[in-house]
């Protein structure tokens, strides 16, 4: 199959699914996303020599993707909507489909053209284009009347954490199944330092750093006992820490410490117990107070945090420490023989990973303004692991893409699918199916299947890190090489 058409089809699947389950004005956004993905994928497959070639490539891939998006709009408008008794105006549906197609084409052309620029402008331009899209999103949202802003912010919080987990799992190769613990620690630090709980109200801009530092400290504390462990034993121990932290948060609401009859603390409420800490102060900037009803400032705050983190992580990856991490991941013994201090390198991996989770926790605490131990369970750690593995371990682009897909599927696709199915079943008499709550009842299935299928089919993730891809397919390449040498020998 032609690589452009294939890229277009892959991008188009996103567009199709988005427009199929959501319907309405989101078709335009679906078109942009589908076109951008298709164009990027196509440009990855073949070299783009000039802007002109890029436009051609992007246009074709974008149009294929747009066609699929339009198909999604039509299926939704003409087949599903009548079934669920939503009146659909044929001309409106037609316009939406056409709009999706045009948007996909335009996005394809723009991204293709940027890829056609000489290096390094093409990389810079691609970043800029995605950056602009991210900055423009809130305005698109209100323009198209999508009302996704309150969903998008938690998505970004999870992406920030996935970036941190990527340091531990992707760069240093330490499978951490208890990463949510650091999220909890960050959130609880914020809760204690900026709320009426202890009557302390430090400003958010200071608390977020303290939260990150406390999380990093716990990263080192929890990392130290696990130093001799490797592989699956390490995974299980981190899982243990991930469980102990919420249990502790749940039960440390009535702390009494007495040594030899001397009572140091009596019935001290440290964490608020199962009720958690509520409310937590919200940040304010130069007198402007962040309000829950105004999501746009929150959006830019978390976006800023993510951009800062990406910059920091990229610098970290290319630093001496980052190279030490990958050396340690490949072979601990060899790395230590080369003079890498394994203790320091491992502990710093845990600490750095925890730092970003601490940021995310601090932001989460002040955004939600109420934290309970229940929101930091094992499932959070597994969702994050899913995001990192789906996108591609050790690759920031991959982690962000994986995060977007998983979170989109979890927060938007499943509920929408539920609405559609419930609508379809309205007139049937299958009682059991009607009771199923799609929003919650297929979540774990979704994450579980993602993990299993990715491991079986594409363990390196959607956008793999080059080195890891080679590692995982070392056998294939070795056999190819052997075949080649055999062939040479026969020829000779």
């Amino acid at each position: 199959m032609n690589s452009r058409i294939r890229a277009g089809l892959i991008g188009g699947i996103f567009g199709l699914l988005i427009s199929l389950v959501s319907g309405g004005q989101i078709a335009y956004l679906a078109g942009i996303i589908a076109g951008a993905i298709a164009s990027q994928l196509a440009a990855q497959e073949e070299d783009v020599a000039s802007v002109r070639a890029g436009i051609q490539l992007g246009l074709r891939a974008g149009l294929v993707a747009g066609a699929l998006t339009a198909l999604g709009v039509f299926i939704r408008g003409f087949l599903i909507n009548p079934l669920v008794n939503v009146s659909a105006d044929a001309s409106v549906v037609f316009m939406l489909g056409l709009g999706g197609l045009v948007m996909a084409g335009v996005a394809g052309v723009v991204f293709g053209a940027i890829r056609g620029l000489p290096s390094p402008q093409n990389r810079f331009g691609t970043l800029l284009a995605f950056g602009l899209l991210a900055v423009a999103y809130p305005f698109l949202d209100s323009l198209l009347n999508l009302r996704f802003m309150n969903e998008v912010i938690p998505v970004l919080i999870f992406i920030l954490m996935a970036l941190g987990l990527n340091i531990v799992v992707g760069y240093a190769g330490l499978l951490d199944l208890g990463y949510a613990a650091f999220f909890a620690i960050g959130a609880y630090t914020t809760g204690m330092l900026a709320s009426p709980h202890f009557g302390i109200s430090m400003p958010f801009w200071i608390v977020i750093w303290i939260a990150a530092a406390v999380a990093a400290l716990f990263g080192i504390l929890l990392g130290a006992p696990t130093l001799p462990l490797r592989g699956d034993y390490l995974a299980i121990v981190t899982l243990g820490f991930g469980e102990i932290v919420p249990i502790a948060a749940n039960n440390l609401d009535n702390v009494t410490i007495s040594i030899l009859g001397v009572t140091l603390l009596e019935n001290f409420d440290l964490t608020g117990g199962p009720r958690g800490i509520n409310p937590i102060n919200r940040p304010s900037l130069f007198g402007y107070a962040f309000e829950p009803s105004q999501p746009i400032p929150w959006y830019f705050l978390i976006l800023g945090l993510i951009v800062f983190s990406i910059f920091f992580i990229l610098r970290l990856r290319n630093s001496r420490l980052g190279r030490a991490w990958s050396a340690m991941r490949e072979d601990e013994l060899a790395a230590s023989a080369m003079g890498i201090n394994l203790v320091r390198t491992k502990l710093l991996a845990f600490a750095m990973g925890a730092t970003f989770s601490g940021f995310a926790g601090a932001f989460y605490g002040s955004f939600i303004s109420a934290i309970t131990p229940a929101s930091f369970g094992f499932d959070v750690s597994v969702i994050l692991l899913c995001m990192v593995i789906l996108g591609g371990l050790g690759n920031i682009t991959g982690v962000i893409l994986g995060g977007l897909i998983i979170q989109f599927a979890d927060r938007l696709f499943l509920p929408q699918l539920g609405d559609v199915v419930q609508g379809l079943l309205q007139n049937s008499n299958i009682e059991v199916l009607k009771e199923i709550n799609f929003k919650t009842d297929f979540r774990t299935m979704l994450f579980g299947l993602t993990l299993v299928i990715m491991m079986l089919v594409r363990p390196e993730g959607l956008v793999p890190n080059e080195r890891r891809r080679r590692e995982l397919h070392a056998d294939d390449e070795a056999t190819a090489h052997e075949r080649q040498t055999l062939y040479d020998a026969e020829q000779a």
């Binding site: 130093l227 462990l229 034993y233 102990i244 394994l342 692991l385 299928i453």
Partner: protein
């Protein structure tokens, strides 16, 4: 002189992993645990009757934990994989048996003449179902990853456990009379398991003879759980130690390649390990369902955690070790339920797991095996 300098430099580079880890653990211990542990010890000594009562509960818990732990140990011994989904197989076993109970419309009013054979039939069917389920999981989710990097099958196993947990959740939508739980009829609610075994105290006469101090509790339910578990454990141990297939399993656990060269079908042996582990988990699921009287879809995680800890405590890969570990973990969690609090028990078990892995990764009965990365 120069060589000495090099030598001392080299000395510096040796990394004291275990020392660092041990120091960290000691710090944790002194900071958080020493004082409460002392208080608990005082409580135990001052009230031996309560202690004895908890130990009896722990014995029953230990019996079923040992059953599940064997599944972890059998599989780990042969393929070196933590079968993360094993706890969920146990949960599915509990649901499966409850469904059969519903289908046969068993209840606490069914006469014993029909109730006991049917219960045995359900036990066998459940064991068969979970055995097949466990083998199917191996076939579809792990086999292709046998030569992949070590974390790949572990991640796949986590995925399977999530899928199974979701299956348990959806199972709750079934509308059997048996599924109309005491806690409401929605899918998430715990399902009530009919009381198929009487709950009468076998140790009640002791109190009459020896007085108040011997007010202990050991019911028919406890007896059944312990007898069935012990029978299965002995059967399994005999199977692995005495039969030719068991010998093949032990050989495969020791060296997969060499045993393949000796004409052992490695794939079949691995499947057998999963079948056996699954069957024991299914039996445990039914026993616990009857013992506790409820079945919830989140049952698997805690049980899996405790059993895995038990397997590691006894020395993973070691069958007797898993039984011993199961018993110990059962006792410890019963004591923790009483003297600390039910909510902390999971944390206690995890703490024990961490301590064993760090201080004695080969467990109590494990041989000195190198940990593979």
């Amino acid at each position: 002189m120069a060589s000495e300098a090099v030598g001392s430099n080299f000395q510096k580079r040796v990394i004291p992993w275990r020392t660092i880890a041990r120091v960290a653990l000691v710090v944790f211990f002194v900071l958080f645990l020493a004082v409460p542990l002392f208080n608990i010890l005082v409580q135990m000594v001052t009230n031996p009757q309560l202690l004895l009562r908890q130990l009896l509960i722990g014995l029953t818990n230990g019996a079923y934990i040992a059953l599940i732990a064997l599944g972890y140990t059998l599989v780990y011994g042969i393929v070196e994989l933590i079968n993360f989904a094993h706890g969920e197989v146990y949960m599915i076993g509990a649901f499966f048996s409850l469904t059969l109970v519903g289908l046969f419309s068993l209840s606490d009013e069914t006469p014993y003449a029909t109730r006991i054979p049917l219960m045995l039939l359900i036990l066998v069917l459940t064991m068969l179902a979970t055995a097949l389920l466990n083998a199917a999981i191996e076939r579809f989710a792990y086999r292709r990853l046998r030569n992949a990097p070590r974390l790949a099958p572990l991640i796949s196993a986590i995925g399977v456990s999530f899928v199974l947990q979701n299956v348990g959740l959806l199972w709750g939508y079934l509308r059997f009379p048996a599924f109309n739980g005491v806690m409401g009829s929605n899918a998430v609610a715990p399902k009530s398991y009919p009381q198929l075994i009487p709950n009468d105290n076998l140790l009640a006469p002791l109190e009459g003879v020896f007085g108040e101090a011997f007010r202990l509790r050991f019911t028919t339910k406890d007896l059944v759980v312990i007898v069935v578990s012990a029978t299965l454990l002995i059967a399994l141990y005999t199977f692995v130690q005495r039969t030719k297939i068991g010998k093949a399993m032990r050989a495969t656990a020791q060296d997969r390649d060499a045993s393949a060269l000796m004409g052992i079908d490695v794939n079949r042996t691995i499947t057998l390990a999963f079948l056996l582990g699954g069957a024991l988990a299914g039996a445990a699921g039914m026993l616990v369902g009857m013992y506790n009287g409820t079945v919830v879809y989140t049952l698997g995680f805690t049980a899996g955690l405790r059993s895995f800890t038990a397997a590691v405590l006894g020395g993973i890969g070691n069958i007797l070790g898993a039984m011993l570990g199961g018993l110990l973990i059962g006792l410890i969690s019963a004591l923790s339920d009483q003297y600390i609090s039910t909510e902390w028990t999971n944390a206690v078990v995890f703490g024990i797991l961490v301590i064993i892995l760090v201080l004695r990764p080969n467990g109590l009965l494990g041989e000195d095996v190198q940990q593979k990365a």
